[in-house]
Symmetry: D2
Subunit: 323 residues, 4 copies
């Protein structure tokens, strides 16, 4: 069901976005940084992503308050220019594969003071003492995440932060919004296609923040952060005016909203899904609204960042023509 | 893994809570109404639930603004007294089965002015004109919900509203809170066990608001409302001091929070789940917190009622002993 | 500008609602308690209010967690029946005077664990350790509140909790809502008239929670709580269909909303004020809306209770006829 | 009580930031634009501000949806470089005077579809039809705002948007945050001193969005927007590490928070005020917290922008030494 893009018939060229090609990673998503790569619609890019702490937390003794320095967090590869992209178009990002790289323990999780959902924060300002600072280094491979002696989790890699540049603003890589950003949706892994609205010439794609696994909401504020080789294919869909990111996988389509409070993120996601069903799947908008009340599915991305992210989805089986 | 209750060894007695036995249904959950039944821990009750509109919407021409009268909505069976229950105990409600009753079309969905998630409401007060008033009558049986010519949904029955009485307050049946109430969690169907904290002598159990299916969030404010025969078994767990409702099914345990804004409901659910894991599954609380950041699952109940409901869950396979 | 009520021409009878007449104070506002007094429209009532802790905190060594027992907080006088009041009417409560009573130190302030705006709470659930428990006993008289060696505040008495009964619910005295309740608006002192919608026969008026002074938001969760002799006059306005409480003083009219999140409380207050201006002061609704954008005044009641309260006001000089 | 800055002893130089000197106005606040002026601490700047619509709405027939183009709204003068300013310092902006300029009607107010507090918006997404589009052109002078035949308001000029650049982000001029931005506080007029944290070399000051008057919350989303000659004096305070903007006037000090939901903005403001009192006015933090619960004052800036703004204040008479 994926939209046919401008690169559909082309033989894809494969580009390597290694650490060396990238050089300086970015901590803000905007139109002011220098491109690292220029590709054509349909091309493939093999990206060496860094972890959200840029490797600064090497042992369980490396405390975040000593090793991390705001706002230089969540390093992003990019910007990648896509030829022909203009305001009013959409870039489709197909994630083809993700594999971990680096020496084990590759994974990092931690509790950072005044960050996370179950603590006072910069925004939900309290006078309580902060929670303790704790670091976990976690062995993992392409199949499993060895959380503890007791718990082994499946390796479920996905991209936490995926963006196109805003038109004139530049937004730190911790914040999700209409441009994409730090959405932290566990669905955004291999097999997914993310649609992002183009707002500046060449689209300026940024990517980073790979997770080996993540629960809904990323409740302590940190997933199993790791560095990867992530392979994506990008395509260009001309003249598709969408306001917010969208996604599809084999089984469902999903609209994505990012806002505070959390009900506003959910409202955005569901409204965009109603509009999508009405515009492209021949639903009357009120029928779509009432049907979603019966079978809509909500995925909580993060509720720890400066804005929260929610995806609202409907299984494709309910929207495709029976024929 | 279900907690062993006081009625565990007993041969259950089966009680019939028919419409005739019930007499007057209730629209407020509190300690001031007269009991309709008294049962022992372990007993089974077969309940004739009415739909959320108490049958007042019979055709697609019956407009909610003419047929419904606030606050006389969402009729509840009960109160059912459970012998021996006291403040500080917990009632476990096992839902054994749910079957639809009444003539087809049995199901009702509608759009009610200033009610639902994608419209201004009594609380999110706007000056916009309300959305149109629309009624849908829907045929359904024990297998399927015939939504439209185009869409057939599986019959996934569950209880929207399940409560014990507060200690001195009486709360309308549209609002969820610490006592349970209108949680609208699609997981609360056959095979589920819901744990509710007892706050008044005899517990005073109320039940109603059966849905034939419901999407996450119940976005238009109404599910496929229908009347049922719902069979439950109730048990009494002495001296289990919990603050909020909890649930378990075969695959997971879930803590439930109800509040506004939606992030507060989510915070409650996740904090209660951390506490549950620490108290009963030998987790250090920080390990539990960070682990949920990797594998927690969030279910959005409703985000249309006076308070919103969220369930936070963890698969049992991650918390049970390997032995 | 006060509305002319049914008792306007009558010679008021004065009733004494002493502690002895009251007997048992109430912690929940509803239709299920026994009246303590029945009055006619226009009558005066002299009320002996207790402080919010019902005198349980006598010294700075009396810790709230040991002396207070939920939900038995914020004791209310009432219910007072007003003859002739029916659903669809309004009761006007004129506060004529408030004077402190009891031995000094009469005032109590404290920090209660997990209560207040700058701490994790039952609803904004965090894993942080609670703030310390601190009690302050404060001398005061009819002129001054002797906060500390350094700070003396003016005595600015007002009623924190003023309610009529809901129709079928009973709401704890800590929560504000459409029925009034724990609004904590510092404007609600001598000289104010509060309009409350009648929802049950006889209106069933409750009053309590006197503050010697209070800042906007009541940020630590507690004002200078004290017991008083509060003199009110009540009148009955037939057939005035309002949804939320309203207030007026010499200089302004104010609409009151209570909800979470705080923007919803503010939206309610401003929408009700637009409607009031349109219905009774000959404003076009859009002119009212845009004018309030230039001269509306917002008072934050509490943002610490289960629901937050906001008053939106406009000076009378802008709405009265110049003539 | 104003902090003594680096420019305290200097004879101020006066700079003219006319429309011609400004050239291109800015719609995003960041480190990527070219400076228009460089001044020394203590210098005076006379600024020709444009109105929030940059003069595009000239008559009551000029519809916002036709004349305005996102994100090119709310034009800002600047960036002004202040010599010696570095990350960790503070810039104090003294507003000395504001006078309207341009031909009458100088003032513009309007209702913009999906913008404002009492309507569904981009973030509080609803399916309702938008409110009507209405434009008001308003005569005004240095004394009065002639709102309508019926209502004349006092001229109460203030600056809606005042900012220093973030370190690496660039934030549209409609959004308030830690850098200042679109705070819309009616107190920010002549006689006020605003303290803004420096995050980039030279501070990079932006200013704009003058209002002739504004109510609390700017409820319809637009004040009486007008162009002015605004005279400011800027000073540099070295090594004052504050996280959020602060303000002082003759009678009070005020801490400012911007966030969603509105309770978070209020929490930030009050926490910053507690910290300010503890750091500079010899208050124990718990005494400050409890005292603010008795005499704190809250000003609602806007609750219509992407983030909401709240100021929390305490009268100077309660914090200054009696001596």
């Amino acid at each position: 069901m994926a939209r046919r893009g401008a690169g559909a018939g082309r033989e894809p060229v494969t580009h390597q976005l290694t650490e060396a090609v990238q050089g300086q990673y970015h901590y803000t998503i905007g139109p002011y940084s220098s491109p690292v790569l220029s590709v054509k619609p349909g091309d493939r890019i093999v990206v060496e992503t860094r972890d959200a702490f840029e490797g600064a937390i090497k042992t369980e003794q490396d405390m975040p308050t000593q090793k991390l320095r705001m706002p230089f967090l969540n390093p992003q590869n990019g910007p990648i220019m896509i030829e022909g992209a203009e305001k009013g178009d959409v870039i489709a990002v197909h994630i083809e594969s993700m594999v971990p790289r680096g020496q084990n323990p590759r994974g990092t999780c931690c509790m950072i003071p005044e960050f996370g959902a179950l603590t006072g924060t910069t925004y939900t300002a309290t006078l309580n003492n902060p929670l303790p600072e704790i670091v976990r280094k976690i062995n993992l491979d392409e199949k499993r995440v060895l959380w503890s002696d007791r718990v082994t989790l499946p390796y479920n890699p996905h991209i936490g932060t995926l963006s196109l540049s805003p038109e004139i603003d530049s937004i730190n890589s911790l914040t999700p919004d209409q441009h994409g950003g730090n959405m932290d949706l566990p669905d955004m892994g291999p097999g997914s296609i993310t649609y992002l609205p183009v707002r500046s010439p060449g689209a300026r794609l940024f990517i980073g923040d790979a997770h080996a696994c993540q629960g809904d909401g990323e409740v302590c504020g940190v997933a199993v952060e790791h560095e990867t080789i992530t392979t994506i294919r990008v395509d260009l869909i001309k003249n598709w005016a969408i306001e917010w990111p969208r996604m599809e996988k084999e089984e469902f389509i999903m609209a994505i909203g990012s806002a505070r409070p959390l009900e506003d993120a959910t409202r955005i996601a569901y409204r965009e899904l109603v509009r999508w069903m009405a515009a492209e799947y021949r639903f009357d908008q009120w029928d779509a609204y009432m049907l979603l009340s019966q079978c809509g599915r909500v995925r909580l991305g993060n509720f720890v960042d400066p804005k929260y992210t929610v995806g609202a989805a409907i299984p494709k089986k309910y929207i495709l023509d029976p024929a």
